[in-house]
Structure formats: structure tokens, C-alpha cells
Subunit: 431 residues, 2 copies
Amino acid sequence: MKPLNIAILGCGTVGGGVAQILTKEKELLSARAQREISLKYIAELNPQAAIKRFGLEEKYFLAEGQPVTIDKILQDKDIDVVVETMGGKSDFVHNTCLRVLKNGKHLVTANKALLAERGADIFAQAAQNKLQLGYEAAVCGAIPIIKGIKECFTGDIIESVSGIMNGTSNYILTQMQLQNLDFAQALKLAQENGYAEADPSLDINGGDASHKLILLIKLAYGLKVSMQELSVVGIEDINKNDMDFAKEINASIKLICLAKLKDKKVYATVRPMAVKNDNTLSKVNYAVNAVRLDNKYSDTHFLIGKGAGSTETAMSIVSDIVFIARHGEVETYNEKEQYVLGDAKEISFPYLVSFKTKNLPGTTGLITTCIGKQGINIETVGHNRFSGETADFSIETDTCSLKTIEAAIEDIKKERPELLLEEPKILPILY
Amino acid sequence: MKPLNIAILGCGTVGGGVAQILTKEKELLSARAQREISLKYIAELNPQAAIKRFGLEEKYFLAEGQPVTIDKILQDKDIDVVVETMGGKSDFVHNTCLRVLKNGKHLVTANKALLAERGADIFAQAAQNKLQLGYEAAVCGAIPIIKGIKECFTGDIIESVSGIMNGTSNYILTQMQLQNLDFAQALKLAQENGYAEADPSLDINGGDASHKLILLIKLAYGLKVSMQELSVVGIEDINKNDMDFAKEINASIKLICLAKLKDKKVYATVRPMAVKNDNTLSKVNYAVNAVRLDNKYSDTHFLIGKGAGSTETAMSIVSDIVFIARHGEVETYNEKEQYVLGDAKEISFPYLVSFKTKNLPGTTGLITTCIGKQGINIETVGHNRFSGETADFSIETDTCSLKTIEAAIEDIKKERPELLLEEPKILPILY
């Protein structure tokens, strides 16, 4: 069989890692695939820097003595698989991915933003041309959750997929919890240690996690959800008090992605939750990612591993390449489009609601009464943080919907408009 | 495309679960595979009991009005996949599996004993005929570790595979730890709650876990290991003292399967270990299974899920069937046969060694001196359980080999033959 020839577009952190594994482990990978897997080209604007950084031979960057271009690669009939590791969701990258497929080449990419926000025609093009679109690396780095759903749990119905899918925010929350730091201190530490970018917005506002959840919802439920449709809350507003209140109910705060199937509707949200310590997700700390599946037939599964990193992410790309070598043309995996998106405010959780109020008599009575009026049972009230003029306290509710919690808060505001000094913090509790 | 026709041999706990999922979810499974997946026959000695137990239609048990036989199934050109869920490693079952493949049908089985002890010619026959041999269900039930290694982590080198692979023994150890039961009480509880068979030997002596480790070593390292070659210790001798000593060093005792690659050798063992509480495996309780992979490029992964159960195990079989429907003929996955089995006594661990001795002055001095003579550093000595004539105490060592620990114990016996009242318990400590 002719070798499977690979070209890489963009030799940064991930692309360089792919080139390293493909060259160092060529013999092993080829034996596994029972077909030679051969890196042919790397298109990169700054080849000399990449050669130095990743210890690669110059030959990969050249075609007939000239720096190899994307156009040259797309026109090369010998190239079977193109690895897109340029990143970003620009028209250029979007268009390049489409051209890869239109030129009859399999596409492998780690580009979650592109696939989640502008991926529809890329997926469609791959299906139409019966080409593989490998994107294992786009969701939780090294964790094989894409093949997990597409090839492993195919005998089951995923009733819920949840998890910790952004390492930066998990690193920050872990530092806040274990080192008693406030948000700004923990973010600074994450930046100093290379776990957060100079501009960390996409990590801390839930955007990056949303991209991953959107891709998982598409795969597991055949449902296309846009960024605008998804209910997302970031971790920017989590403070030390929230950490303490969570600790008091034996929980840790985590940024949780969750999609849940109920009555033909998919309910989905990305937001900080108070995860009870019996849930394995509560113990997933620092930059580690974890995905939890709750399945109809096989119950609960956890897949835990590195969600980012050069060789970690690159490994997933290389495993996609080996998969293509082993299975070549394969029918698109189409989860039937039988579900619609539900209203995230209707998902039932117990909630941890924390209030900062004026320190006035009758406050607890008023607040708990308003909550009770919505038919919500209260589990515990913790108000151990009086400090002169203000009171911080938290209420743990029984299972109810976000809608009813929000209605109760509206009632409180109406009854005594001056009482609440801040918008209450609402954390679903995850058991 | 013609339907993928399935026959099941043996309609017990697992086979019945497979029949249930294949019939109830036929539409969904067929959509995923983009090919109709159709259960045609079930061969079962007692069809009426199976029909009642699993709510199945009688038609699956009949061919031309007669109970369908294995011979009839093997001769039926329309059958594409045979699911073997009879169990056991008898000549009959072994021969039936070979005949399935010789008749050009894919084979799917949960039969770990057969594949681990007598599987060589079955694997070879599948490879020769370019047929798939699905055995996801044979290793840790619902956890997709077979496809994990074969299809997902193919871009990596597995430096170590370890885990909790027997639910019964883990249930017993968990009860001992959390309820402070002794071994006999915990075993009885496991039997009463359906987690242990009337004859639990294969679960508690490490035999069942060994079958799974042997299959994983074959898959991950291309190395064939026999039951005789594998270093195995069961959990029968674990007592309350051991539990307490482990607790004192922040560890939990788990029956650990471990295979480790070092210098072209695979070191493998199945034995109780004191797993430090920072290791996720220490938190895997009751009948849950977990596999840990330590990979060269993608670092540490955990896959946690149900290791047994009717629909749990059946789900893995059904996922193998969907895989066959999606990928049909596929080149055998052959990890290069480049490794040999190392001496398990040379694996380096820190150890927790517990002694029951006569309560005599100088005992600690003698024992620690003998350990020191072997070049082993001591981390802590805990001797808090004097009770008149005897002393129970434990020593936590730095990293060393089992060989040197055993040599130290021999020295102690030589120096004061009357001192040790029991053979010391040696538990590797897993971080």
C-alpha cells in the first residue's frame, strides 16, 4: 500500500508537536497502521524558528528547494492528510479547511473555535466527499472523547455529558481553593506559570469551554447549537466567599460544561457549579480536564487527562492520522437530528445561592419566605460572615429550576429594594 | 448495503443484555452505523427462561420452527457477526470460536479467561481471515480500554498501564476500609449483595484481574504472557491491621494490576498495593473499575466506569458490533513484538511492610538494621499496636526492589529465627 502522506499547516506549539511525534515514532506508527505514515511537508511562515524550536529537518519545509506553500500542498496529489494547526476562525483558515476537503484530502485539526462557530460547511464537505475530519485534539486535548463517543460508546445512549473542559479556569479555581487566593491573584499566578494567556478572556468567560461543549452536543445529540444560544457564565465573579460557602457544603467550585437529554430536549449550560466532593469531578485539579458521561446502559464514566500542551494535543492529532491510515474512508457518524435545544433555565439542580445584604433584622426571614413562595425547599442556611454593616450568607436549596430561583430573587428586590448589595451568586450544585 | 446480521451464542446475563440493546435500539444503532444492524438468531439451551428473563421475542431462538443450533448459525451464510457469551475456556467454547472465524464471521466476545489463556490461535485466525475480533467487553466491562489502546492512543507510547480491574475484590476492600470489616465479613457482604459468586476464588486470588492484565499487555506491548509467568498476589490475606497501617500513610489498599515498560522490558504484577490518596485510583470504590495510562506524549489518563453488569458489559459488545458495521475489514492491530517480560521482583516501589513479632526489646533495631543492610532507606516506622506478647508494626521504605525487601526479611529470619510470628506483609506503595 502506498504511504499515507501528511502535510502540516502551521508549525507552532501543536503543529510542531505533531511533526516531532510523526518523525520520531514513524516506525512504530507505521507498524500500528500496517501502512507507512510519512510526513512530507510543513507550511510555516517562519521555518527557521520552527526548525530550531522543534529540532526538525529543513527538508519538510521545502518543495523543490523553495519554502513549501499551502497552495502547493493542496495541489499535491500525493498528500493524503492535511493537519491544520494554524488556529483562529478567520476567513482564510475557514476557506483553507474547505479547500483541503475539496481537494480530496482528509483533514485533521485542533481548531475548536473554527469548528464550533463556523464548522457546519466543513463537516458537510467532509461527509459529501467521504473524507475523514479528525478533531479529537479540538475537545479536551489528549482525552479521547471524540472517538469515545464516535467509536466506543456507540452501543449506548448518552443521557448526559458533563465535565471540566478548560484547564486555565480550572487551574485558577484550584489555586483559589487550595491556596486561598482571590481571583486576581490566582489569574496572575496562572499567567506567570504559563497556564493563562496575556489576554485570558476566552478561558475565564467560558468561551473556550463553550466551543468544546458545542462540538460534543453536535456529536452526541446531532444538535447544532450556536454560541449565542448557549447559556454561559464565566468564572470572573467567583470570590473567596463563594469558595468558603462551597466548602461548607462539602463542595468545590468548578467551571462545568453540561448537556443533558430529557424528553427529546437537550439542556445545556456552561457555568461555575458547586461540585460535591463525592463527584470525581470535584477532585480534578489544576490544568487537568475531565469528561463525565452518564449513559443509559453503561452508567457513569469518567475520562480524565491533559486538556492542553504541545505533545498532549499533538498526540490526539497523530492518533487521528493513525485512525485514517487504519480505516480510510468511513461513513460519517451521524447522530440522528431528533432533538431540540431546551431552555437552560429549566434544568433542575439543587442550588447554592449566596447573598450580600445590609445587616438588618428580618433579612433571612424575607429571603427564605420569597424562596419558599416559589415552591423551593431550603436545605441549609449558612450566615456566618456578619461584618458590621453587611451580611454574607448562603442558602442551599433542594432541586428546582433556575427560573424559580430568579423569580424568588426578583420578589426579594421588589419587597425591599435596598436590601441586596450585590446581585446574588447562583451556583448549581452537582452531585 | 445489506444488513449486518448478528447471532448470539448463549443468552445469560451478558448475552441477554446484548439482545435487549440490539432489539430496543435497533433504529439508533443502524443510523450510527449507516447500515441496518439486525439480530437474527440466539442459540440458547433454555430459550423459555431467556425469553421470560429478558422480554425477548421467541423468533430469535428459532430457525425454520426449530430451536436454532450453533451449527446452523455457523453454516448460515447470512450471519456476519457471532457474539460468544457462553463463557468458560472449555475445548467446546474454544473450538466454537475458531469455527466462527473459519466460517468467515466476525467474532465478538466477553470471554477474558478464554482469550487470556487460550486465545493465541483465535487472535491468529482472525488476523489470517482479516476478520474483526471484538473483545472490548472482556476487559473492565464498559470501560473502552481496548478501543482506547487500539484506536485512540495510537499516537502515543504507553509507558505504564495500571488499574483496578476486578470489581468484586474492590468492593470487598472498600467495605473493609470504610466499614472497618474484616475480610470474611466483607466477602460475605459482597456475596449477599450479588457482587461475589458463591465460589469467589478467581476474584479474590487475582485470577480474573490477571486475565485482563494479560490481554492489555498483549495489546499495548505485543507481548504474550501466561498465567504462570505473571506475578500475582490475591487479597485473601489483607486484614484490618493492613488497612490501618495503610491509612496511617494516607493510602488505601487496592488490588492493582500494573504493567510498566522500562528498557525494552515489561514488568508486570497483580497484587494489593497501598495507593496514596493523591492517586485517583485510591478514590475508586466499590465495584467500579479504573484504568490508568501513563503515556510518553500525553501524560496520565484515567478511564473510570463499570467493570461488570448485564447491560454495562453488553454495551461494550454492542459497540464492537457497531464498530464492525462502520469499519468492516480492518488490518489487525499489531503492536510490534519488541519487548520481553522483566522480573516483577525488580520493579521499584516504595513499600509498606508490616510485621507481627514477639514483643521483645531490640526488635525494631534488628529489623531496621537488616533493611538498611540491603541499601534500603526507611521513611517511617509505625509501631502503635503493642498487645502484650506480640507487636504489630509497619515500616514505610523508600523506593527499592521487591528482591531487596525479601532479602532483608531472610536476614531477619536468620538472625533471630523465633522473632517473626507471621510472614511479613509486603505492599508496594503507589503514588
